[in-house]
Symmetry: C2
Subunit: 258 residues, 2 copies
């Protein structure tokens, strides 16, 4: 089989999911006629492949998991929504009159977020954007985006970029997932293999595929709260509070200080 | 990435889809806790990847496409359901008191069909089964399973096996899909590339992937009715009737004769 070229797999998927939901624009059809649900396909480096409906990226607040609503109550001041995707969260904040900037590395995602009405968007990495003059009071990492810490190498670099983007008293509001409650041997074995290679158990190595394109391979971190605490050591950020009501998912608020 | 080992990807998927639908037995969970929909992932040899919910393999008659109901009215005598899958169609025929045998090459699919109550099942290819003494009056190829003709090399061999399994006056009731109505450049380009390689335009080269395993690569044919007519030439089978009410899907009844 031909190896898929690297492209904006996430953005292509979000574009199609938006076209399916709105009924506007070209979109994948079954039999050239029937709309088909848009599916996110994720490959892991052990060969595991999983598909999941992509529609949730466009969900209205009524359909969100409860912790997303609790996360919004933790936002204050000017918010940077990191990995804004189709703008689900940022649009709600904007609608409530808050100052919010949506950042994503996917051009397709930013395009859809803008078409849905999000006014302030940035197509960049946090590292690239940290060279700008903008400053924020809240960094929002929802939809499992605590995973963007990637692992022990990347986490301090990522957090240093947030430090540069931070107003005094700024906080990070991040949603993570503790991966270690599973008894599925496919996942338990993967965690063990990761540790044997010097990685965190839930340091997933993934790529997205959508139709003809793939993303580059990237690390995405599912970690326990203890592991998060360890990753924060020496970064200037510390855990201020944890909300574990929806385990294995959790909300972590991190602030600067000793 | 590790290449996935070849296994019963279809059967593993059907097992999980059945566990999700019934709530019984181990099944994939999100976050180790929340049931996740089972997704069929199909790779094509041009790198295209598509996911689709697998649940329809278990659908009750009320949720079937209309042509499946019309197909059942075309069945007579002893029916061989080829590619029986989870037994959706065969269970309905059995419930109506018809004699029906479900054949599949997937051990997992046969296992689920039996757990759902299908009494007469065969784990075999049509070629292998044609050496048995069983004889049938109707060969049923629904759920796009006209695709099992694969292409010009395989079709006469497949049809010869059915000839050996046929009672006098037997018929094939097959549901196909005409692929040439699409304007999606990904598919139009694929059809052109296929023809340039001496294949039929809709002669798809596919493999299934489910979690850690992949099927072998196989051909699966979407063809026009003209192409079907051409494939039948010299096989002893001819088109007796076509139902095109649900285009691009169609039902073809084939009978033996000049």
């Amino acid at each position: 089989m031909e190896q898929p070229p690297i492209g904006d797999a996430f953005g292509e998927m979000i574009r199609d999911a938006y076209a399916v939901r709105t009924g506007v624009g070209p979109r994948p059809l079954a039999g050239g006629r029937l709309p088909r649900p848009v599916i996110e396909v994720i490959e892991r480096d052990d060969g595991l492949i999983n598909g999941a409906p992509a529609d949730h990226y466009l969900d209205e607040p009524a359909d969100w998991p409860p912790h997303d609503h609790r996360a919004l109550r933790l936002c204050r001041g000017h918010v940077l929504d990191i990995g804004v995707g189709a703008g689900r969260i940022a649009l709600e904040l904007q609608g409530r009159g808050m100052a919010v900037t949506g950042l994503d590395t996917s051009a397709g995602a930013i395009e859809v977020a803008r078409r849905r009405g999000l006014r302030d968007t940035v197509l960049n990495t946090v590292d690239g954007y940290a060279r700008a003059a903008a400053r924020y009071d809240t960094f929002l990492l929802l939809g499992n985006n605590l995973g963007l810490l990637e692992g022990p190498q990347r986490a301090p670099v990522f957090l240093e970029a947030l430090t540069r983007l931070a107003n005094p008293g700024a906080r990070i509001v991040a949603q993570g997932a503790d991966p270690y409650g599973t008894r599925d041997p496919v996942h338990v074995g993967y965690h063990e293999r990761n540790r044997a290679r010097g990685r965190l158990g839930g340091q997933l190595r993934l790529r997205l595929r959508y139709r003809l394109v793939a993303s580059a391979w990237f690390d995405y971190l599912n970690c326990s709260i203890d592991e998060l605490e360890e990753l924060l050591r020496g970064t200037g950020w510390r855990i201020a509070s944890i909300d574990e009501k929806d385990r294995p998912y959790y909300l972590a608020v991190m602030e600067q200080g000793r």
